[in-house]
Symmetry: D3
């Protein structure tokens, strides 16, 4: 009912079953002692990380009923919780035919999203640990649009469950002028004015800049948000000194190759947003497995 809605997971469980050609699962069809054989199975963490699969388990319950069986799930860990190797995340009970069919798609999904949550949590904690005690608000860590097509909802869910926030989730949900747009428009001022003219009045105008000269132009053009792209920590500090403060002050985002090893150096008051593409395109999957108990 909130963002971790099982509705976001359901089509992907079905897609996984489709990939698997599950109707002709000869192995399972040959091994069941009876068509309705019931089993219990344990979903167990095999690595340290952040679990982010509640919605997937809700979808599993729901879809299993649509398939004419019923898999009942009870959970010990919930989305956002840390897990360590051996932790029993959840127990499934139901028909072996379905549990064996859903196993792989469900695991493939929860490993992916939990992997993203795990990476995000690590980054947020590193930032928080390095944050100076000045009273300045901690920046947001956000994802980018670098998500596998079709998986943006789930990828952003992983980021949020790890403690990060969404950047714009679509081109319709924010304005971000990048190098290519500037060139197309013929300059920073033209780009900012053009965007402001067509964009709905509820969207801020954000622009990516690659040096201080561009930053100055962006500020002069009235940008609401400036993104410092591939600025070193020193360059960020210098840039911040050029940004006005007070009412109507623009927000400052830093971006570009920031990773677990380097985020601490970007813990600079005045930075409002840190966006990290690798969260959604290169996080390692969290190892989780399903162990079926049979009687």
């Amino acid at each position: 009912m909130e963002q971790d809605s099982w509705l976001s997971w359901k089509p992907w469980i079905l897609a996984g079953l489709e990939d698997d050609g599950w109707r002709w699962d000869w192995t399972t069809l040959g091994c069941l002692r009876e068509p309705d054989q019931q089993v219990r199975a344990r979903l167990v963490a095999k690595a340290d990380g952040v679990w982010a699969g509640d919605g997937c388990l809700r979808a599993l319950e729901h879809v299993s009923r649509e398939f004419g069986g019923e898999i009942r799930v009870s959970q010990n860990f919930f989305s956002g919780n840390r897990v360590k190797p051996g932790d029993l995340i959840a127990t499934w009970e139901g028909p072996a035919r379905l549990i064996l069919a859903f196993e792989r798609p469900v695991l493939n999904l929860v490993q992916y999203v939990s992997g993203i949550a795990t990476s995000t949590r690590a980054l947020c904690e590193a930032l928080e640990a390095a944050w100076p005690n000045t009273g300045a608000p901690l920046p947001r860590v956000t994802s980018t649009r670098k998500t596998l097509p079709g998986y943006r909802d789930l990828a952003v869910l992983g980021v949020r469950l790890g403690g990060g926030e969404a950047h714009r989730v679509s081109l319709a949900g924010g304005v971000l002028i990048k190098e290519n747009h500037i060139a197309a428009a013929g300059g920073i001022r033209a780009a900012v004015e053009g965007a402001r003219k067509v964009a709905p009045h509820g969207l801020k105008i954000e622009i990516e800049v690659t040096n201080e000269a561009e930053l100055d132009q962006a500020l002069a053009a009235g940008a609401d948000v400036v993104m410092l792209d591939n600025f070193s920590p020193e360059q960020v500090r210098s840039a911040l000194s050029r940004v006005p403060s007070g009412a109507g002050r623009p927000l400052v985002e830093v971006s570009g190759g920031i990773r677990l090893e380097t985020i601490a150096s970007y813990a600079i008051p005045g930075v409002d947003v840190i966006s990290v593409g690798s969260l959604t395109h290169s996080s390692r999957a969290l190892d989780v497995s399903l162990l079926v108990d049979l009687g």
Copy 2:
């Protein structure tokens, strides 16, 4: 026309555009100097790896025509080629409106598949380098079913372009009896016989074993392929000595946590297949970017 068909890529380009809500790309709509502004863009590698996106560029050309524009692509590197930072993979020419809309979905896709190809190539080369000069055929490196739902075709494509091979691509395309099936069937013999009874006559019966006792039972039951799961290299050597040779000899697969650092130790004659799940669930994306040239 061959396996790297653009048809496998097309739905995902469309899904990426959908994620992006591309019709309301306020930024681009605001920045174009004229609706039909034409541009040229360069697709450039930013890291070392194996390019695996030819089909995606074919899909880009095709889909752009369906969108009423036409993006023309000329390539310098082709699927299976190595690339290094700065290599100009391809040039795109066409309407700015479309090139800016397709940029992100295309990059998201080719980075993913090329990342898988890159990881696979590394693994294959490490295995080949370690392979003893005994005349025994080099084992296949294969993927598993640990692929993000919907992406199995593209993930396996990446593996094959990297030099690996497909394992069964669906439950309908192979029999693989695992621990859970054995328990469901009530034992190894029952599982093998049950599977052989219902499976089409053109499928071999493969069974996963976790120790030598199970291996012996599998061989006695007439398995066509045995998978040694999580066996150490020493355990693999010992197991191989129990497998019969000659006509009708079963194939031997090893699996379980094998990675770039350890694959050399599995370079053991008699092993036919090495399957590696991380290829498709945890490869790093290959960094590639698009630079628009404007006049």
Copy 3:
């Protein structure tokens, strides 16, 4: 290629053909002298209004080719142009079988979108005519989310071709706190703060208020945009005097039952946006017809 993309129209042409069960068009099948009979047809305006169907004619050409025939269209009037009764908007040439099948769906669509454009144009002109010569910028006239499901893209297109602008096109593309959200949150401050916390940093926080007390709270809470709902012109003037000016000044939107007869009275400097729901839910269709020339 720009927003009036034929891609937005295509699915609705197909839906119209589907509604019609066009494959079993017994009337046409019985009346054609030969299966490939070619005809010419004239698309003619029957009323005064603003034409807004270029994209639909592009879609017609495109889809006709997908149907194995080819309807060629030449236009005399273009999206955004005014038309009057008798104006020959466009000529179609191609197979009678297809022209007779596409006639009704295309007319149904262009009449709808042109009707919206026509209403919007009238409203914009009435506002402009009444606008005082003070140098204050003319407010935007915008649509709302009161659009028939599935038709938002085309409805907003009609508004824009008529001279209006989009409000947020989706819940993801803007924040608008209404009466119900305030109650759910437990007050204006809680609502504004809650929304600011979860919304992407590129979205402004807009809030609807129904009286001056609420307006004051909204301003105190730091709203970026205030919407004065169902305020009389006098109430708008009074409210505007409470809104701060200068850097970071919030935008002011007025809304609620504004129509052609009353918009002039809202021509009040300081108003930034006037949103009008009836544009998209109750505009009259523009009368357009297709006359087939045979012979």
Copy 4:
């Protein structure tokens, strides 16, 4: 279970949610005090009209369960009932997250269909009031095929709930030879004979005529139904005198710009059907709103 089936409404509720990008409803996500916050809401008429949304409320209940929540609806007014401003049509109870998401799509739909029912009822009543006391049966008021693509089912539902009837709902469900078909066939006789030859034997052959000469030809060719297009009331009376009576007598339909102000003049015995395109393309939406009660 009858024609007002919620199945006709369901895809459009989903389409409306899709238009809204409801998963990223930042406003609601930010305002809920707790994810499962429950509320009650009142659906209230704001204008005089005919309510025609029972099926939509059934669909709302059904779809809400598919979304993992449950909205319970109790109704005071039912499809076909008149409503006046302030009437409490129905009460909804359920999770705020869902009620706020479904509000706009449901309102957009019921306003549209109720608007059509309202216009149709007015037309039917005006006709009935003007009908002479001769014992001749009252003509049917019917819609046409001038419906927004995809919405034919719901538009015709609105007409029927208002007291009208369906004309053919698809090209497959009736034969109607119009001016263009006559020209394609090379004359009225050829058209009628051609249509009779290919059409299923259960369909009557209807033909549109624009003057008495055409009417005579249509009758001579054995048309089962004649449609008098754009005939004035006097022309209708004259035409009726030429139509044979007795067994096998053709039906007479009048059509063309008939509206609330003019329908009384077409209350002419002998007319069987009056078809009115504006019912489905230009009815005003019925104003209905949802008021959430929070506690």
Copy 5:
């Protein structure tokens, strides 16, 4: 462009490729000498019958281009033509990868539809041969609604290409009151009156009767068409004597187990329609095969 439109075939070619999991056609992938190997193939009849697959070959050409290759087809026989064993129906040229992929789906389709055309032709000819030389018009032979779901369009196409006609193609396209409807309505008169009330005015009211008493009631109720269900030829003759003649005379249909061996006995003047369910549910496929010539 006419009813044998390739659009009706296209989705089924795609469904056949889907059934086949054509992307992983290991056999073909392993056997091609080069990815783009071109071949020529001959489509040859292996039995006597009526060819009915022109639309499928058009769809083949069209879809092959959508797949990035191009299969060019030249035909010697056309839909409606008779073929005998050995006749070269058509030649295909194009990429081996695609020709081998499309072979099976295309053959499966054309064999099915041609089989229906072949059975229909035989029935029509038997009827015509037995028809007495009285000047009475030959009855239509029609199909029924006994078609495999999804295949109604193609099944009816086969019937029409064989010389038969469509019965109503959908419930929306005709009224046919059967035994069950009579019981639901509480009698023949109630059923006829109920149907006439709700059905569009362009539909005749047809009713199925199983004996002369029912026939009399149907006629008295004003049925436009009567269907004599499972009447023997003698019973048909007797029934015909009770049906009025002249203007407004009802049509007479016979139905129920009529087959090639018995249709001659139903060659009775006064019968207007003979409907035969087995045409679409039990016709034998026409044997056709594809022979690839390679160089």
Copy 6:
């Protein structure tokens, strides 16, 4: 939950309703005495055969609930059971509106699949009756890929319920080198080696041969399965004498025009598989009807 899953049937019930345009079932809408009229109906066999529709009845129950009604089914006969004329297979209870809508699609489906099961059962019994008492295992009777697109799952289900087995269900699920592949590859050896190279290691390599010379080459190339295509019984015996026995012995399949009248002559020990295309492309439908009891 096992292979006779109602999920395989559901989309086809929906497709049948779609073919029928069930929402506008004027006949039923006109005949119901009240919208919710409840009825009972009996599903009765009208011919001898094998019932194979359990899954369809489950789908009926399930889908009826999705349609807002509920059809309850109780069965006397189950999939795989023989039925004879007059047998009461099942009773349905529920709303007349739905039962009359679902009647035709359900009958069309169960007649088709039961027809396939019936033909298969006859073939298996004829084979078993003719099988010599030598202790050699009875061959499998299998279907082929000659199935109507979209219906492979249900067609193979019919075969299996009749006592047969699946051949490969897709190109991805087996390797079968046919004449055309041999030509493409340039010979039998090249084809076998090419296929073995790219096919997953769990697939056997099967090859179709048309004479003994080809058989010898196939055996020499190491084929795992040989298919003797269009061999007479004598040719089969001769061929069998050339096939090696013992460990690693290839399987032998015979195919080509085998039918009920001739299968006994192929009851030859050493044959492992008999595949029969006509089972799925030319079986007669099993006659089954629905009789509604009203009262």
